[in-house]
């Protein structure tokens, strides 16, 4: 049983003309699908994992730590893989020309981060808790606070783009994008409040482990 949402999901109106109408054709993974791009340490600056230190001053909002492990469904860590994330600022506004939400931009916050997982598949970002924002899917529709994640894993078949949500958010029960996921799998998208890994006098922590599908990927030679 797949944990992924269906491509065609009427409550999310943008799927109507974009979701393919025909079933996908099975593709037995070959060498191309069982390998993937490798992004070395040289392509990622360590400072990219701290979204609060990318400008002259500090951004407005609640500083948080978001960390976790990237593993596969067999429980194996996924080491040295690129993790990209993007999000709104504390006011719920993206630094993007298409975002028309009348909330302020923050000159000290871009909202983009990158890192490589370590040898045990761990990642860690410092950022600002993103804000909720309205969208036009239906009257008074609001997206719950979320952080977009992009992961490559070690093979093309593991590529994943998804969103992380915050525990206890009252908007989760009203959001059709979160709600497009089968009910039994939704918990996978919600981070855990992590008091032990919070830094006293400085930042609260959230833990979010990411599980990629297991694949007989080829070991690098």
């Amino acid at each position: 049983m797949t944990s992924d949402p269906p491509l065609s999901f009427a409550p999310y109106r943008s799927t109507a003309l974009r979701a393919p109408g025909l079933p996908p054709v099975p593709l037995p993974p070959g060498r191309t699908e069982l390998t993937g791009p490798v992004f070395g340490q040289s392509t990622v600056d360590g400072r990219e994992a701290d979204l609060t230190r990318q400008h002259e001053g500090e951004p407005q909002g609640e500083r948080i730590i978001v960390h976790g492990r990237v593993v596969d469904t067999d429980g194996r860590p996924v080491p040295h893989t690129l993790v990209e994330l993007w999000q709104t600022n504390a006011a719920g506004r993206y630094r993007h020309s298409v975002d028309r939400h009348p909330a302020p931009l923050d000159p000290n916050f871009t909202g983009a981060g990158r890192c490589l997982t370590d040898a045990e598949g761990r990642y860690r970002f410092v950022t600002i808790r993103p804000g909720a924002y309205p969208w036009r899917n239906s009257l008074n529709a609001w997206r719950p606070a979320h952080i977009h994640f992009s992961l490559f894993g070690r093979a093309f078949v593991q590529r994943l783009v998804t969103q992380m949500y915050f525990p206890g958010d009252p908007l989760l029960g009203h959001d059709v994008i979160f709600g497009s996921v089968p009910a039994f799998a939704r918990y996978r998208l919600v981070a855990t409040f992590d008091l032990p890994n919070s830094v006293p006098e400085w930042a609260l922590a959230y833990r979010w482990d990411i599980v990629l599908r297991a694949t007989p990927f080829e070991e690098p030679s």
Binding site: L7, L17, P24, V25, L27, T32, L85, V161, T162
Partner: protein, 140 residues
Amino acid sequence: MSTPSQTVGPFFAVGMPARSDGAGDVWLRGRVLDGAGEPVPDAVVEAWQADPPVFGRAATDEAGRWALRVRESTVDLSVFARGLLNRVVTRVYLRDDADDPVLASVDPARRGTLIATRSGDGYTFDIHLQGPHETVFFAL
């Protein structure tokens, strides 16, 4: 259980910038079109080839156009967009190949959607997400 996919949304350019890795030597260009034949101006297309590796990522413009540098050989593509709750995956063939087992597994009436057209300095490959010309997408 694996972490479910979610849509890339309209603001992916903040965190998924265009990139080109590896020695691609020809252009692969195309458009992403929706079920009404309209351009999809907020999609992102990724190309992957192994041996030697070529990876590229390009967002579509207001006319739904994208362009990637690839090697002159079969290419796997992922397409992400607002309105796509998961990526869709297709494979670009630069010529019809009757001996290719994957092409052979596709309905002959739809096989043409996987074959690029030669053009000037590269190849053209339009992606129809839906509709009468719907591109063949693959389940991995």
